[in-house]
C-alpha cells in the first residue's frame, strides 16, 4: 500500500479532542520540592534553598526555579486521568519522546503556592521523519495560583512513533 492511500494516524476521536479542556490538576509548591528540583538541576543560588536569602531577595518564600511548576497531589486511590493527547491513533505507536517545552511566566511562583493546571491539545500533526511515522501533539497547559492569577503557560510537544 502506498503512503497516499494509507489511512491517517489521526482518528476522528483525536480530532474531536483538540481544544477540549482537561479536568483541573492541583499542584503544590513547597520548600522541600523547590530545594529538590533546584538541587537536581545544579543551582547554587541560595534563594532556592534558604528562606531568609529568598526573602532578602524580595521573594515571598523560596521561588520555583524555571521549569518547576509544582508537584501534582498524588492520590493512590484515584486513577490518574488519561493524559491529554494520549488517545490511541489508528495504528499503534509504541514509543514516546518529548519534542519540546516552552514556558511563559507571568508572575512569581513561590513555596506555599497551590497551583491549578488545565490542559488542552492545541494541534495534532502526522509526519514521516527519521523515526518513521510520527504523531506530533502540541498541548497547552495554563497554571493559576490560589488567587486565580495565571502564573504560567506551558506549551509541550509530544512525539509518538
Amino acid at each position: 500500500m502506498s503512503d497516499e492511500t494509507q489511512e491517517s494516524l489521526i482518528t476522528d476521536e483525536m480530532r474531536a479532542s483538540i481544544g477540549r479542556e482537561s479536568e483541573p490538576t492541583t499542584l503544590e509548591v513547597d520548600k522541600t520540592s523547590v530545594r529538590m528540583f533546584a538541587r537536581s538541576v545544579g543551582y547554587t543560588d541560595p534563594v532556592y534553598y534558604d528562606e531568609a536569602a529568598a526573602q532578602a531577595a524580595g521573594y515571598r518564600s523560596l521561588p520555583a526555579p524555571p521549569g518547576y511548576l509544582g508537584t501534582p497531589v498524588f492520590n493512590p486511590n484515584k486513577r490518574s486521568a488519561r493524559p491529554q493527547g494520549m488517545l490511541e491513533p489508528s495504528r499503534p505507536l509504541k514509543r514516546v519522546l518529548n519534542g519540546g517545552t516552552d514556558i511563559e511566566y507571568l508572575t512569581d511562583i513561590c513555596a506555599g503556592d497551590i497551583l491549578t493546571s488545565i490542559s488542552a491539545v492545541s494541534s495534532i500533526e502526522e509526519r514521516k521523519g527519521r523515526l518513521g511515522e510520527m504523531l506530533i501533539t502540541t498541548t497547552k497547559t495554563t497554571y493559576r495560583n490560589q488567587d486565580g492569577e495565571v502564573v504560567a503557560i506551558m506549551t509541550g510537544t509530544g512525539i509518538r512513533y
Partner: protein
C-alpha cells in the same frame, strides 16, 4: 548580582553554563521533576526501545537553559519565557554546554526586556536543544 539592561548589547554572548550529568543526577532529576520514564535510568529498558544508552531528559536540558538565564539575570531580573526543542539526544557523562546570545533589547509595557537565542551543545558541537527566551533585567 545579575546583568544590567544598560550594559547588554544585541549580539553579545552570555556566560556559558557547563553541565555533565552523572546517572545519579538523572535519578535525582527523575524524583525532582516526577518524570520516571525508564529510558532515563534503566539501561536495559532504554536498549529495548532501540536507544544506544540511557538519555538525558529533555526537560532537564530545558531546566539547564532556565538556570543559564537565571544565573545571568540574577534575582533583580526575571526569566519571562524559556522554550526549546529537543532535537538531539544527550547522554550521561558527556559535556552539555548551555549557551545564549542576545538577539533583541527593547522596552515594552515599562519593562526592560531582552530576547535571546539559547541552546545546549553536545561535545561534537551540535545544538541538541535549540530555543529562545525572554528575560527582564533591572
Amino acid at each position: 548580582m545579575g546583568a544590567s539592561w544598560d550594559e547588554v548589547q544585541e549580539g553579545m554572548e552570555i556566560p556559558t553554563l557547563e553541565k555533565n550529568c552523572s546517572t545519579q543526577q538523572l535519578v535525582h532529576w527523575a524524583a525532582g521533576s516526577g518524570d520516571f520514564y525508564q529510558i532515563h535510568y534503566d539501561h536495559n529498558f532504554a536498549e529495548a526501545t532501540g536507544l544506544p544508552n540511557i538519555i538525558v531528559h529533555g526537560a532537564l536540558k530545558h531546566a539547564f537553559l532556565g538556570q543559564l538565564l537565571h544565573d545571568w539575570v540574577g534575582n533583580e531580573g526575571r526569566v519571562k519565557r524559556v522554550g526549546c526543542s529537543y532535537r538531539g539526544m544527550d547522554f550521561p557523562d558527556e559535556d552539555i554546554h548551555c549557551k545564549g546570545v542576545v538577539t533583541r533589547k527593547y522596552e515594552e509595557d515599562g519593562e526592560k526586556l531582552v530576547d535571546l537565542e539559547i541552546w545546549t551543545e553536545n561535545p561534537d558541537g551540535q545544538r541538541t536543544s535549540p530555543g529562545s527566551a525572554t528575560v527582564r533585567l533591572p
